[in-house]
Structure formats: C-alpha cells, structure tokens
Symmetry: C2
Subunit: 219 residues, 2 copies
C-alpha cells in the first residue's frame, strides 16, 4: 500500500495543488494508496529528512518527493497501466503545462486566496505561513487579497487556452484525462477548496471537464 503524505489544514481540507496532481496520478494508475495528513512542520520528519515540500510518497522502502517526480516514478514503475502522458512521447506538452500552471496560473490565483489559506491553517503553522508568503507577495496577506481581487477578470481570462482546447476535445490530453489535466485541475481545486471566488461558471467549457476530474479525485 503506497502512502501519500498530503498537506492538510486544521479542518482537514487538502488544498495543495501539487498534492492533487500526485493523488490523481495514483488514481490514474489504479494504485491502492492511503493519504496521511501532514502540516509544514511535519515535512522534515519524512523519509531521510531532506524533503522540503509535499507531496511525498512512500512505496515500501522507496521515498519520492515532488509531484512530477512522483508521476515519473509511477509511470516507469507501472508502465503496464494507462500512461500519464498520452500522445506526448517527448513530454513537451506536459512540461509546458506544468511551467504554465506553476509560473502563470498559480501565481495569479495565490494572492487572492493566500489569506483564506492562512485562516484554515493549524494555529501552529500560521506564523510560518504568513511570514514566508508575505515575503513572496511583498505585502500582507490581507493587502494582497484586496489588491488582487479587482484583477479577477484577468485571472479568468488567463484560463482561455484551456477553454479553447476543451472546445476541440474533451480533455487537455485528448479523449481521456491524464497528468496535464490533473496539473490544471490541481490549481482550480486548490482555489475552490479555500475561496468563495468563482473562476468559472456553469456555462464555461471548463465546468464539465472540472466536474469529471473532481469525481475521479474525490471518489
């Protein structure tokens, strides 16, 4: 049984977009796994103590950290199961999607939801979260939210490449979802779990796609 170490809030939400990628990669490969709720201060207690971020998985005596490393590991260890990278032999597509989500989409969403995440953190983690994230944002969590909420139309517009793709095919990876879909889903799930803000409505082509993956993710 694989263990997935997953970032948890005080109320046991699991918002981390990277952890959703790993969770869906495990489900995609139809592997049995159990999630273990962890907070930031637990991370250094995992494996050999060198991990800095979640997700981390343990598969018997193998420890793997980082969502793309986990996807790589599962892909080579379970090459017989459905591939995580269909139609993408050079990984050009999935690597670009990861770069786009990590460097454009999540940084657009983060200032809007950072304060919401902080409120959900265990009391023991709040100071760490506030200090490190305010340094990244260059302002207070409250101020970041107030400054960035008016930019919501731009955040919604930034998802337009996904909309255009979903108008021509049901999933980013083609006829069925795979790791590139999970990477985009992770960012949207992260936002929806912690925030009231609506990034896409029921008329949006993203909606049906999101619900399909959300059923996979939460079943």
């Amino acid at each position: 049984m694989i263990e997935l170490f997953d970032l948890a809030t005080e109320s046991d939400l699991r918002p981390s977009p990277y952890c959703w990628r790993a969770k869906l990669a495990l489900k995609h490969k139809a592997l049995a796994f159990e999630t273990r709720a962890k907070s930031y201060s637990d991370i250094r207690l995992l494996g050999d103590g060198t991990f800095k971020t979640l997700p981390v998985i343990r598969d018997d005596d193998r420890w793997v950290g980082g969502s793309m490393n986990i996807a790589d590991y599962l892909e080579s260890r379970h090459a017989d199961a459905s591939t995580l990278f269909p139609h993408d032999p050079g990984r050009l597509f999935v690597n670009f999607i990861e770069a786009w989500i990590d460097s454009t989409i999540q940084p657009l969403i983060f200032p809007i939801i950072a304060c919401d995440i902080w409120k959900l953190m265990p009391a023991s983690e709040r100071d760490y979260f506030r200090r490190t994230r305010e340094m990244r944002l260059g302002t207070s969590l409250e101020n970041a939210q107030e400054l960035n909420l008016p930019k919501l139309p731009a955040v919604r517009a930034s998802l337009e490449p996904v909309r255009r793709t979903l108008k021509r095919q049901p999933f980013l990876c083609g006829d069925a979802p795979a790791y590139a879909d999970y990477t985009v889903y992770g960012a949207l799930k992260w936002q929806r779990l912690v925030s009231e803000v609506v990034l896409f409505d029921e008329q949006d082509p993203i909606h049906a796609w999101y619900l399909h993956i959300d059923r996979m993710a939460t079943q």
Copy 2:
C-alpha cells in the same frame, strides 16, 4: 514556386505574427517561395475572394489561408521533409501553444503596440485599422497604449513558461525549432518590429532562442 501573401505596412515592414508562422513553416520545409506584400483591403482580391485574413498561400492552383491551415497543408504535402510537429503525434502541444499565444500573449502585447502599428499603416488602411481595433480594445489606440504600458512587468512575466522550457532544452520543440517555436517567435517579432519596448533583455534565456529563429526567418 509558392506565393505567400503577407501583410505589409507603408514602410514594407511585415509585422503580422501569423504571417511569420507561415513564413517559418515554409522555410522549415525548405520550400522555395516568394512573398507578396498586401494590405487589408487587398485580402478580398485573393483566390476565390473568401479569405478574410492573412497569411494566404498559393501553391499552383491550391489556395490555403490561415497559419495553422498552411502548416497542416505543408506538413501533409511535404511529409518527407522535416516535420513541423516533432514529438507531438496528437498535436496536443502545438495546439495548446497556439491557444496560449492567441488568447493570452498576443492580447497582452496588442494594446501596447496597436498605436505603433497604426502609425506604420498605409494611409488608405488607417481608418479601417483604427475603427476595428478601437472596437476590440474598447478605447482609443492612444489610450490603450498609455493604460497598458505600466503593465509591462506582467507582460514580461507572462513569458515565464517559455523561459522555464528554454532552461531545460534549446527550443520549445526540443533540440531543434519547429512550428510551436515559430508561433511564439511570431508574437515577439511582431512586437519588436513596430515597438521600442523591450520584452526580454540579453540575459534572458529567450534572447539566444529568439536570435536563432530570427536568423532563420530573415535570411
């Protein structure tokens, strides 16, 4: 000899990002071609009169319009020459790059350079350009530029997925440039031909990549 009908300004610059894609696709396939400078009002005189935009090519009695249609046509007609879509059998990557450039990057660049493009248009085309583009921008060309110049840091940041990709491999398509590279290049060439604004400096990983494709494009 293939003819490429290409949008030209009064001073015979050829800024259209879509025309650069087509031009580089022709060069990639090592095909002999001649460009024909056209203005907006010439487009309806081409082929059977149904074309609305450039580029358009004529290959003997075959007319093809639209940069991706032209790439498709060249790819199937000259399947023996180097592919325009390497490592991308389902075209997931190139279609996403096109959607991203068309719906995110070019719309971020356009308000900043629209007024510069207008100044370069032949006098006969200026009213058409101003009327249609001001409708799209929702304001005057001059006002769009003034409002959007302060957003330059965000435009530069929007290219981050390209930077990240070029840190791991020399071209977006891998070891050699292909159509996805040309699609990104087209947007940057368009901007540099008409505007003084600097989107990437010599330290930027984009710089060497751009120069390589620019030599291909302008030789």
